[in-house]
């Protein structure tokens, strides 16, 4: 089992095993960038076609909650980075504490996102469900909200996956699965978590900050 501290049979040594895992996760993250990339491309082209509608629609998003959520996510990246660091140093309790904080912040993010979704719902901004908008460009405003829900929705699915992943890491850490010599799963979970954060870093200005001035 590659999950144990023992080097898996296909590798020569632990260093080879770990550099392989590092490269593997980065390539996976590159595929994630392009997975979201298709959405960013669709967003860019649609925004260029309907700049006024996107300006109007973006002002209908909840910038306060969006900004707070960005802060929450950035902080969760800090706790995750500290958790990986603690694991590397063999500080098991600190590592568990930081990972628990990460999970808590992740859940907070989802909760805030949920409140936002609820407010969007009561504001009749959910396409295909209850969208109605009386101002100009209603049809294109709806397209913005379609992209908004699509992009944040796919991002939230990634958040949920990340939370589960870190949860498993907590369980493994409490069973003393990691040591300064073996911490690859935590490292990889951290990388995934940070990438989901990076995606949000771009979603935030594109969805919330269009034409606020």
């Amino acid at each position: 089992m590659a999950d144990s501290a023992i080097v898996a049979r296909q590798f020569d040594d632990a260093a080879q095993q770990r550099t392989a895992a590092d490269l593997g996760i980065w390539i996976f993250l590159a595929t994630e960038i392009l997975f979201f990339g298709a959405l960013f491309a669709a967003y860019t082209i649609t925004r260029i076609r309907y700049p006024e509608a996107f300006a109007i629609a973006s002002r209908l998003t909840n910038v306060a909650l969006g900004s707070v959520n960005t802060g929450v996510l950035l902080t969760s990246s800090l706790t995750m980075a500290l958790a990986v660091r603690a694991t590397k140093l063999g500080a098991r309790k600190a590592s568990i504490a930081f990972m628990s904080a990460t999970v808590a912040l992740g859940l907070a993010f989802l909760a805030i996102k949920g409140i936002e979704y609820y407010l969007d719902y009561t504001g009749h901004l959910v396409p295909a469900l209850n969208f109605s908008y009386a101002g100009p460009h209603a049809n294109q405003v709806q397209i913005f909200f379609y992209l908004y829900f699509f992009m944040t929705g796919v991002h939230s699915l990634h958040m949920i996956a990340g939370i589960c992943l870190v949860g498993v890491m907590i369980a493994m850490a409490s069973r003393r699965a990691f040591s300064p010599a073996y911490y690859t799963p935590v490292e990889l979970s951290g990388m995934y978590w940070h990438l989901v954060d990076v995606v949000w870093i771009f979603l935030y200005p594109l969805l919330y900050l269009v034409a606020r001035s």
Binding site: Y50, E52, A53, P136, H137, N139
Partner: protein
């Protein structure tokens, strides 16, 4: 049964030029394929296992230098050839995309699974297009549902026909006859039955055909009716109280847009102004026009487009 054509008829000014391009490619491709085949066969025989051919190779350094020269040759010789062929094909493509100013407009609407065509004089056709030889014809095309494609092999041209948008195709037919029109973009169940004819006629015969055509009203007359029917005249009419842009003499002129920039008032602009009025607002006017997306059939809109074009003609002919 034994009528087996191996090469299509040629019936437009462009077709001959596309064919020349094709034959040059064919010659190049045959040359390369033959060269590869001949070399493979020649080497296969000469250097078959057990043959007594001389296999002694030059020293490594000499060989490496020679190999590099060969490599560079077969990078740069094809590359320069490709640039020439690219430029040639691109030039022809540009001409294919740029209709001459004096072309006769015919309007095409594709729908699953038929072609509806309309001449400016109001003559309507289904799956048939009558055109005079020797005059450039410009097709303004749109679709009511999915993407179709108007393909006329004898003219060597085709163009996708998109919903919600106008695309343009033009040709100058040179030879009278009855030729195929195919829908060549897959469009659903009866895609292969979305075919028709383009009938190229001598100009006189075409005039006669037009005269006995079914056009009780010209497209512009019909367009004027639609213009009232959809309420356009309420704002754009002569004695409307609303501040709306004047349409007389608009067509073909540059339009100043709100927020800077100009566009030419072509078919696309008129179409988009009706469907997406907020997209390109004329400078100095409030964006108050409602969108007609989903409320007006593409055919009716084409009538209105032709009507607005005719306003242009009327002004230059009479008002001045």
């Amino acid at each position: 049964m034994w009528n087996v054509p191996l090469f299509p008829d040629r019936a437009s000014s462009l077709a001959a030029r596309v064919d020349v391009l094709f034959f040059v490619w064919l010659a190049l491709a045959t040359l390369v394929a033959l060269a590869v085949a001949v070399l493979i066969v020649f080497f296969s025989i000469k250097y078959r296992r057990g043959s007594s051919a001389n296999r002694a190779t030059a020293p490594e350094a000499v060989r490496a230098r020679r190999d590099r020269r060969i490599e560079l040759a077969w990078i740069f010789v094809p590359l320069s050839l490709f640039f020439v062929m690219f430029a040639w094909a691109a030039e022809l493509y540009y001409e294919h995309a740029a209709p001459p100013g004096d072309a006769i407009d015919v309007y095409v609407v594709g729908k699953q699974w038929m072609w509806k065509l309309e001449h400016a004089g109001g003559q309507r056709e289904i799956d048939e297009l009558h055109v005079p030889a020797g005059r450039p014809i410009r097709l303004v095309m749109t679709s009511e549902d999915v993407i179709h494609d108007f393909f006329m092999p004898v003219f060597r041209i085709k163009q996708d026909v998109l919903p919600g948008r106008y695309t343009i195709l033009w040709f100058n037919a040179t030879k009278a006859g009855d030729y195929h029109v195919f829908c060549s973009q897959y469009c659903g169940t009866d895609h292969s039955r979305m075919i028709g004819h383009v009938v190229v006629m001598a100009p006189a015969a075409f005039e006669a055909w037009l005269a006995r055509g079914n056009g009780a009203q010209t497209m512009a007359t019909r367009g004027a009716e639609r213009f009232r029917q959809y309420g356009c005249s309420g704002c754009h009419g002569a004695n409307a109280s609303v501040h709306a842009p004047k349409l007389e003499g608009l067509f073909g002129k540059p339009v100043q847009l709100e927020g800077g920039g100009t566009v030419t008032a072509d078919e696309r602009y008129i179409h988009d102004s009706v469907m997406l009025p907020k997209k390109e607002v004329v400078a100095g006017y409030a964006p108050i026009m409602p969108s007609f997306q989903g409320q007006i059939a593409e055919e009716d809109l084409l009538d209105i487009v032709e009507y607005i074009k005719s306003l242009h003609d009327a002004r230059e002919g009479t008002v001045r």
